[in-house]
Symmetry: C2
Subunit: 205 residues, 2 copies
DNA sequence: AACTTATATTGACATTGTCAATATAGCGTA
DNA sequence: TACGCTATATTGACAATGTCAATATAAGTT
């Protein structure tokens, strides 16, 4: 909300349109959800003609991909913050999962954008790279907790934890509304319970 | 593929269009993926005019929802079969997760359809009801394994297991292609590892 | 000042979802 | 059997969208 109006800055023509477009896209998404999202409406809100965006994005998918990358970075930040808040690697591990689910709950459309599949595939896509960086946060934390863990296969443990968090997050975002998914407290309570279950395991020993 | 051509059966006009539309929609999805999916193209393939589908489905979303319900039933079947194949509740529990991920890998577009969010929300939607039925399979199995489990909170355990399977499934379907997600064996290997990790827990004791 | 290049606009095009008006076929009933 | 009713299908429109080509305009360079 700061980089839009004032300071034409280093860019040429109108202002720095690319940035304005991204911001307009974000507020539009917040208003109409991920489905009513339209390139032309983004342009309208940015106050430019319907074809102007094509100077900054190859097509609609490219715009969406830029949003997804941004959202992924925000997710990675949220995870990092969660880690740093917690002294022990064990509680950090739990908190990563909670933070993941919280992010999904608080930014449902960003979350959906990230995992939309009308993005370009390919391993080199910017989205996937951003994803790798978020995953790296989990992997690091897992490593630093190594001595407390049940297995040497850190990758497998990390994948399991990621799967669990991601699964719960999508259920919270897309699944049926239940009492517990109505407010943040409920969601965090749920996430904490699930993460603890994951840590202790399903089975009795 | 059986109910389409032969036997005009109990329905009136053309044939039983509704069924034909659903089948056309499925093969179209298989060909162009979930994005290039178009109502008019479905009608074209069914050999009817572009507005004919509106006699059987309120709108595009309704058609998609019908597909999602069907896919959800197939998923529930796959889970049930997995349960029945395994004698002990414990191995059944593991196999449910594997079956879930396998289904996603083998029917990626069906899977995407199920969890598309351009479906109608609301708890009474047919999709959600179908989902409840699939979830019930897991819940039952969980109950029958109760004496082996670490907690009395079956709901929480089930939610955790579902989250994990679902998360891994979406990662396999939408995530970046890795060596292990290229073929069915790799996917099953991964799923089994993740489910076992979930059962034993992340932490040493 | 003239030229080049980056950026924006205009106007088109095919395609899509949807609706209203119209046609047609199958059914029960007189 | 003929009639009419209702379910089903077609036709033709409409606004909206993503995208492209042609054109304009401003910025920066020489």
């Amino acid at each position: 909300m700061s980089t839009s109006k004032k300071m034409p800055s280093k860019t040429y023509h109108h202002g720095n349109l690319r940035q304005v477009l991204l911001e307009a896209a974000q507020t539009l998404t917040a208003e109409v959800g991920i489905d009513g999202f339209t390139l032309r409406e983004v342009a309208r809100r940015a106050g430019v003609s319907h074809a102007a965006p094509y100077n900054h994005f190859a097509d609609k998918t490219a715009l969406v991909e830029a949003l997804a990358v941004h959202a992924f970075q925000e997710l990675a930040n949220a995870l990092r913050i969660a880690v740093n808040k917690h002294a022990t690697p064990l509680s950090a591990l739990e908190e990563i999962g909670v933070a993941y689910v919280r992010f999904a709950y608080q930014h449902p459309n960003e979350f959906r954008f990230i995992f939309r599949n009308d993005l370009r595939p390919s391993a080199e896509s910017a989205t996937n790279q951003a994803g790798e960086r978020a995953y790296a946060v989990l992997l690091e934390t897992m490593k630093s907790a190594q001595s407390f863990l049940a297995s040497k296969d850190i990758e497998l443990l990390a994948l399991t934890a990621w799967s669990t968090s991601h699964g719960l997050a999508t259920l919270v975002v897309n699944g049926p509304r239940s009492d517990l998914t109505q407010n943040l407290e409920g969601v965090e309570y749920l996430a904490r319970g699930v993460m603890q279950t994951l840590q202790e395991g399903l089975f009795k020993r």
